[in-house]
């Protein structure tokens, strides 16, 4: 491997350590927020927001999505669409039943 590529990987390693620190801090924040005893909906939103930031960091840096090829993004876009459809289906069915009774 060339020296330039070697230096590049070394830069990556520094990023990995920073991401690790951020994930650890956000885990502590997640647990700390739980002690505020928020009601269900705000608690869910805060938990999902923090989890999304953490998941985003893992996907972007550990799974190298920041520098990935277009085909991978297309797979992910299709996945997100199907995932969202499935996710909406359940609460929609619930709302439909609740309204019908």
């Amino acid at each position: 491997m060339s020296d330039a590529a070697h230096a590049d990987i070394k830069k990556h390693v520094r990023v990995y350590i920073t991401v690790f620190a951020a994930l650890a801090v956000l885990t502590v924040v997640t647990v700390a927020v739980a002690y505020l005893h928020l009601s269900f909906v705000p608690a869910l939103l805060v938990a999902l927001l923090i989890a999304s930031v953490k998941g985003g960091l893992v996907a972007a840096y550990f799974m190298h999505l920041v520098s990935e090829k277009r085909v991978i993004f297309w797979i992910l876009i299709v996945t997100v669409i199907f995932f969202a459809a499935m996710f909406i289906l359940f609460p929609a069915a619930h709302a439909d039943q609740a309204g019908g009774m």
Binding site: M1, K10, V13, A51, A59, M63, F90
Partner: protein, 205 residues
């Protein structure tokens, strides 16, 4: 027969074949966990109290039944294992096979620690007679964490192979071996990612 594009990217996709394959597999995994996750939301929408009554006692919070400190520790263990996994790959990129062995070994160790902690967690529940059939809460808790645990075991088998007998490939085809570690890492990070969502939604709210 040689499998094509194990090292060089395919011209039309821009990635080596196995990477495309693993991302497609992960897409199916998103739907698997997503289905159970939406089932969990559905179960919660249908009840007034969660986790609700268990053995005659009414519980207002999941954290009154589940062990949050142990689950927090497990979150840290899994995050740490994700870092060592990516470091294992970075070590191969820097041609440091000795470092690879170290970091992959640490990744496997962290995965085993996660399972041991999970074992204590499960045996505490089962020891108190709390089984999946007792309530919707326990059913979805055991199903989601159990399926995730199976994924950890699967990752350990793959990583164990690449740490042990599979690492011989480093001598014959280092580029392909590095790619194998990259995509084994993609799976391992995904397992970490699932836990990042499971932990707050099941244990904390």
């Amino acid at each position: 027969m040689d499998i094509p594009y194990t090292v060089t990217p395919r011209a039309d996709t821009g990635v080596f074949n196995a990477k495309l394959g693993v991302w497609l597999f992960l897409a199916s995994e998103v739907m698997l966990f997503g289905g159970l996750f939406s089932a969990y939301i559905f179960l919660r929408l249908g009840v007034d109290a969660w986790p609700g009554v268990l053995d005659g006692t009414a519980y207002a919070r999941a954290s009154d039944i589940l062990n949050v400190p142990l689950a927090t520790l497990n979150t840290m263990v899994l995050i740490a294992s994700s870092v060592t996994m990516v470091m294992a790959w970075a070590s191969l990129m820097m041609k440091r096979f000795d470092r690879y062995k170290l970091y992959m070994g640490l990744t496997i160790l962290a995965g085993l620690v996660f399972l041991v902690i999970k074992y204590f967690e499960y045996s505490a529940k089962l020891g108190h007679g709390l089984t999946p059939s007792d309530s919707n809460f326990l059913a979805i808790y055991f199903t989601l964490t159990g399926l995730h645990g199976l994924h950890v075991i699967g990752g350990l088998i793959v990583n164990g192979y690449f740490w042990g007998p599979g690492s011989k490939m480093w001598k014959t085809n280092p580029a392909q071996f590095t790619n194998r570690i990259e995509i084994a890492g993609l799976y391992w990070h995904f397992v970490d990612l699932v836990w990042i969502f499971l932990f707050p939604t099941i244990y904390l709210i």
